[in-house]
């Protein structure tokens, strides 16, 4: 994550890249909310060992509806 928060103009670009065509009031929400979510993401540790599995390991049996 970048160390400085994106500007409103940069947020508009990011939103466009996310295929979002938002009315102004929702775009304002996005700019405000990202001021809180961005730092949360930045605090999450990176640089893990290759084998560190995420918490959503796929369990195929769980999707066997005939079981």
């Amino acid at each position: 994550m970048p160390s400085t928060p994106p500007t409103p103009d940069e947020m508009t670009v990011l939103a466009r890249h996310a295929d979002l065509n938002l009315p102004d009031y929702v775009q304002a929400d996005l700019i405000s909310a990202w001021q809180h979510v961005g730092p949360m993401i930045a605090r999450i540790r990176r640089g893990r060992a290759y084998g560190d599995e995420p918490a959503h390991v796929f369990c195929p049996v769980a999707f066997d509806r005939k079981a």
Partner: protein, 468 residues
Amino acid sequence: MSGPAILSITEAARLIAARALSPVELLQDCLARIDAVDGVLNSFVTVTRDRAIAEAKAAEVAIMRDGPSSPMHGIPFSLKDIFSTKGIRTTAQSKLLADYVPTEDCDAQQRLSQAGGVLLGKTATWEFAHGGPSWDVLFPPARNPWNTDHHPAGSSSGSAASVAAGLCPATMGSDTGGSIRAPAAACGIAGIKATYGRVSRRGVLPNCFSHDHAGPLAWTVEDLAILLGITAGWDRLDPACARLPVPDYRAALTGSVAGLTVGVPYRWIEEDLPASPETRANLDSALAVFRDLGVTIRPVTLPPMQQYEDAKKVIAVAELFSIHEKNLRTRPELFGASLRYRIIAGSLVRAEDYIQAMRLRSELAMAMQAVFADVDLMMLPTAEPAGRLEPVPPEFLFTKRSYQTAFNVGGNPALSICSGFAENGLPFSLQIVGRLFDEATVLRAGDAYEKATPWRDRRPDLVRKEAA
């Protein structure tokens, strides 16, 4: 407050089995109380009056003929309005689902109905169990029966308020970051989020798939044991559901907790999220009760609370956006402002961010399970006593910490019970957390505490408001 509506499930079931109370009489008293006070509480969004009367009459006939088939036979219950009910509007408190009538029942409705329960209606929630309290959604927010100027917390707001006010003895809620336990705490009742996968979420509108739990709320822990015994168990149609046997939770309530070891995460309640002096004193009093019952108390250390909050919220907003993105793109005006703010925050979370948050979740969950190598249970407050019902800034979800969220990240069973009352009459709460799939010990401890303390003798004083 008097009448059969304020009986616990346990008490009502005993009277019904003895033919001393009719399910119809019990239901009529619940309906009368709803008529009398729910105009103030806003705890129900739909009352299934005619259907409930028919179900209660059928239960009465069956019980008179054969006796009750379960402790829930003839007992009214409600479902948070994100639980799908065939033929009954299920709104999630959202304008988006104002006219949504499911064609299938959720798993909880199927199980409770099969046990003979009487569906009384659907209860108020924060919009899609996430954004609230809100005044710009389909229904007004529920209020706290101990003081209607105060909030009942969320998101299972109406479920908790209706039980505390004696409108309905049993209900089901959902908990993604505390949404069963916080309302139970605010309203002075009992609520349990069992282990992730213990209770099927099939037919429950999703909030955050990886953290969503369904579970019961009721007046006492013994009532929870009854409800959990009925609603827990494998469901092949919920991929998260655990294929494990369900113990007899009620039989586990022996009253004895002597020899157990309880860990207290003191750093969390002193530094990470300092408890108020009143709440800390209440916790110490509750721990003293357990000491007197033969429990050993010792400190435990968990990773910083903020790490649990960060992992859960990054995962949550990403999943939330994936659930609601179509409606957000096409008709954003139908969302309440609070939920819309939280959904849009997920639109820019990258796949890498989500996966790194999931890797952190693995680490945090393992750290939590490691603590249980040395203790049988953990105890801490569920929340501070409820504050006034008023709008909160939408970013509050992102800035606040809670004593509850970490146990959604870990997936551990967590129970909230009433542990007394503050000077202003609002309830204090105690949270009891257990090893994965060891709900029986959690419930045993909660039940022992309830029976050693007088808090179940007090009900909200709605008499003046009823007369007003």
